[in-house]
């Protein structure tokens, strides 16, 4: 599975997303008071990158091969996990000097990556071979909208700012997003498996893939 994960890794996309996010976090590190919004942009960038990791342009061919979609999706979770790990490291290193909160920043990135992965895998299971681009566009634009212009900032503080920001509410909000997205992703990956009382999963022959 590891070899498969490495082979299907879309290196240019992953590099572009990771480098873009690192650059934006670097800008935040330099001038957090003025450029904290760049951290939100970085969140949008890693979310968009994550949604591109599940595309299978040759789906018509690989869907006929013995490896089921579920197996391939789980294998593609490895690069997604790598992206999430890089994000957590980057968000922990950046110094927001009290304008932002590192723990919320970590949650924002991980939540967006998980949400992107969940939506893309669901669409992939529904038969779309390359859903990543459409999901990436939507996630990038909507997340950036919430960073710049959230009209419901008082009730849904996705990207608070400064000491007066509602960080506690934001922390809860992103924790819920992480939990829901992780559950949706797990459900998508486990769909089609029949669980027996012995605790060993088996795959129904008609639901493979």
């Amino acid at each position: 599975m590891l070899r498969y994960s490495v082979r299907v890794l879309p290196v240019p996309t992953l590099l572009a997303g990771a480098l873009g996010a690192a650059t934006l976090l670097g800008l935040v590190h330099l001038r957090p008071a003025q450029l904290l919004q760049a951290a939100g942009l970085a969140v949008a960038a890693v979310g968009a990158t994550a949604s591109r990791l599940f595309d299978e342009p040759a789906a018509a061919l690989v869907d006929t091969l013995p490896r089921p979609l579920r197996w391939r999706t789980v294998a593609r979770l490895l690069p997604t996990g790598l992206l999430a790990l890089l994000w957590v490291i980057g968000a922990s290193v950046v110094d927001t000097q009290g304008v932002g909160r590192p723990d919320v920043l970590r949650l924002q990135g991980v939540g967006t990556i998980l949400a992107a992965a969940a939506v893309t895998t669901v669409l992939r299971r529904r038969g779309q071979p390359v859903p990543g681009l459409a999901v990436a566009s939507t996630i990038l634009l909507v997340t950036t909208f919430l960073v710049l212009l959230n009209p419901f900032d008082r009730f849904l503080p996705f990207f608070p700012y400064g000491p007066s920001g509602d960080w506690a509410a934001s922390r809860w909000l992103w924790a819920v997003i992480v939990a829901v997205a992780a559950a949706a992703l797990a459900t998508s990956c486990l769909e089609g498996i029949r669980w027996r009382f012995t605790g060993h999963p088996s795959v129904h022959p008609n639901t493979r893939g």
Binding site: Q34, L35, L41, L133, A136, S137, T138, L141, F145
Partner: protein
């Protein structure tokens, strides 16, 4: 204008009716694109939320960022998708009798769809807050020339909606990587944040950016900044940038003569530089601070 193909003289420019038929079709595709509809919905949602907020935010001069993003940046991605969408079909068909330049021109006309929405938004904001102004000392009709306010709103909302969309056509024509519009969207927003006046040293030169603002937000003392420069010249400058975008997209077709668009582009570029310089050197040359801007409910 004609071209020699296999010994025959074929017209390179199709009848105008072809252009308008294509433009109508592309405009419909633009207007029905899910991302464009999402952008329009977010514009409406944010505007209603802003208008209903009591007391209304005094930063009226900051509001054009809304259509600039929801119509301009969303339009960038939509226009790119529309531009790329015909390539696989044309590959299968082996070509089309309509030159690429005509198809690009049709897309450039379709980019007027977000402009129409941005125009409605601009007229609404400028007229609604004519009478419903937040406080007299805020940066608005009472404290600024109406021409400056209207110029800034038209440039930062209407022209920006076109500029983002035409940039999408340019990227769709020139860059093969499908992820390019997303990178461009991030870059556009990333350079706009520091380029919108918050970096003090760059403030006098910020008009060179495709999008900037004259409003500096609450500085913590209940007063707002108004940045130096002339928004009227900046409006003309941003229109020139849009013309350059159209020309850049049209230039991609190598089968058509390129001298005229290149000459027009050079002239437009020089004019744009002059207008940008005029925007920097005319108008107020220092950052102005408003009298304390307090909401009615904040007044003791």
């Amino acid at each position: 204008m004609t071209t020699h193909v296999a010994g025959q003289r074929l017209p390179t420019a199709p009848p105008r009716s072809v252009l308008w038929a294509l433009a109508t079709m592309e405009s419909r595709r633009f207007a029905r694109h899910p991302l464009f509809l999402l952008g329009v919905a977010l514009t409406a949602l944010a505007t209603v939320s802003y208008v209903l907020t009591d007391p209304v935010d005094v930063g009226l001069m900051a509001q054009p960022i809304l259509p600039a993003f929801t119509l301009g940046v969303f339009g960038l991605v939509v226009a790119d998708r529309l531009t790329r969408s015909t390539a696989p079909i044309l590959d299968e068909l082996g070509g089309t009798p309509v030159p690429e330049r005509t198809r690009t021109a049709a897309l450039a006309v379709a980019c007027l769809v977000p402009v129409a929405v941005a125009s409605v938004w601009t007229v609404f904001m400028l007229t609604y807050f004519w009478s419903n102004r937040p406080v007299p000392q805020a940066w608005w009709y009472d404290t600024l020339p109406a021409g400056d306010i209207i110029s800034f709103y038209v440039a930062a909302a209407v022209v920006a909606a076109y500029g983002g969309s035409i940039l999408g056509v340019v990227i769709g024509r020139w860059v093969h990587w499908p992820g390019a519009p997303l990178v461009a969207a991030v870059l556009l927003v990333a350079v706009t944040i520091p380029g919108s006046g918050i970096v003090e040293g760059f403030r006098p030169y910020r008009q060179i950016m495709p999008w900037t603002t004259w409003y500096g937000g609450d500085n913590g003392a209940g007063a707002d900044y108004y940045y130096p420069g002339n928004p009227r010249w900046w409006l003309a400058y941003t229109i020139c940038l849009c013309i350059l975008g159209v020309l850049a997209a049209l230039l991609h077709d190598r089968d058509q003569p390129r001298r005229r668009p290149i000459t027009t582009g050079v002239v437009t570029g020089l004019v744009a530089l002059g207008l940008c310089a005029a925007s920097m050197t005319t108008g107020p040359q220092e950052t102005r601070i408003s009298p304390p801007v307090l909401h009615p409910e904040q007044v003791p």
